[in-house]
């Protein structure tokens, strides 16, 4: 949950990038880190395995400067996507104000996406939050690959109109930055609207 420190005039919000393994969560943070102005970003901290897979989380603090007299900070985290780290994902998700679900658009990843989104719903519910009302933005990453599913097809499974959730969704190629800031803007606005 967001923290408003009246004495220091600071606001802190936590945004978590969630999704299946190798989907591009870390790439999102790496691109943001490379592209935002120097005065906005802190160090990108990664707790990864020797093979560069996320073990615990990546962490990127962003300082948006003073807004109406309040120093506003967004803390971005990724979770480890590999199935084996479910408990770790719960730990990182703790206290999140909003989630970006990074789906892998490739055909053979559809099932993993669905499983991961279901797990997210369960974990948010375990935090005593209403998942239907929880700030969430979808990102369909790897939209440049030839074996990807079209966004409308992914919607049928991940954002079905029948559920009426109508999450905002963005197609992305995180490694080169396409759609990364659109996604970040969308989740930031959503989180701010719920402060």
């Amino acid at each position: 949950m967001a923290l408003i420190n009246v004495a220091a005039r600071e606001i802190h919000c936590k945004i978590v990038y969630y999704g299946p393994g190798m989907g591009g969560k870390t790439s999102n943070l790496q691109y943001i880190h490379s592209a935002v102005p120097k005065e906005v970003k802190g160090d990108l901290l990664s707790i990864a395995t020797e093979t560069e897979r996320t073990l615990f989380f990546d962490f990127l603090p962003l300082d948006l400067g003073k807004v109406r007299g309040f120093q506003t900070r967004f803390h971005l985290y990724t979770v480890p996507g590999q199935v084996l780290y479910e408990r770790t994902r719960v730990a990182v998700l703790n206290g999140a104000d909003g989630v970006v679900f990074v789906a892998d658009s490739q055909k053979h990843k559809l099932e993993e996406n669905i499983k991961s989104l279901k797990e997210l719903a369960q974990n948010v519910t375990k935090m005593n939050k209403n998942f239907r009302e929880f700030p969430l933005v979808l990102q369909y990453n790897k939209a440049d690959l030839p074996n990807r599913l079209p966004a409308q097809r992914l919607d049928d499974f991940l954002n079905p109109p029948a559920l009426g959730l109508n999450w905002q969704r963005y197609e992305a190629v995180a490694t080169r930055g396409d759609g990364v800031f659109d996604t970040l803007k969308a989740i930031s606005r959503l989180v701010i609207s719920r402060l």
Partner: protein
């Protein structure tokens, strides 16, 4: 803590009391630094060595450690581990949970006995617990604190900074 509550607003008076309590803890233990975090890793207050530049990252990592230990506790059918101790060659960290929602952390060097840290942290935890209960009980709304035009200004800032 109301789990559906979206923001925690910590008023100035309470921040001052929290800082005073942390300063006492640092002084009495001859520690190097004390931090109060919420469980998501946000730093609410910090006292001690003012040259410390890495407080934000420290907050995120300590909260991560605690959240991870809570999951370990569950596997052992414990509710949680209330305290954690990490021992280094030069510095040690003692971490205590307050009311399931907040984390108190003290960094001290080998000149201070862990027993003293434990006793004084327990005292500080009790004091902070009362202050944090008042934080929980207060009913200021976001608009009371931030003003109603905050959201529009924030959206403008987001558009300005988050772009290629």
């Amino acid at each position: 803590m109301d789990p559906q509550l979206t923001s925690v607003i910590v008023p100035s008076a309470e921040v001052a009391q929290i800082e005073e309590c942390l300063a006492h803890l640092v002084e009495d233990t001859q520690g190097n630094h004390a931090l109060l975090l919420d469980k998501s890793g946000q730093v609410i207050a910090s006292q001690g060595d003012s040259s410390r530049q890495d407080v934000t990252a420290l907050g995120a990592l300590i909260a991560g450690t605690f959240a991870s230990s809570r999951e370990v506790a569950k596997l052992l059918r414990e509710k949680d581990f209330r305290m954690l101790f990490q021992q280094g060659v030069r510095e040690n960290i003692f971490i205590a949970l307050i009311e399931d929602q907040w984390i108190l952390c003290i960094i001290f060097n080998k000149g201070t006995h862990i027993g003293l840290v434990k006793v004084l942290t327990k005292k500080a935890t009790d004091e902070l617990s009362a202050v944090l209960e008042r934080v929980r009980q207060q009913h200021k709304t976001r608009d009371d604190v931030l003003g109603s035009s905050f959201r529009t200004s924030m959206e403008d800032t987001i558009d300005l900074l988050f772009r290629d």
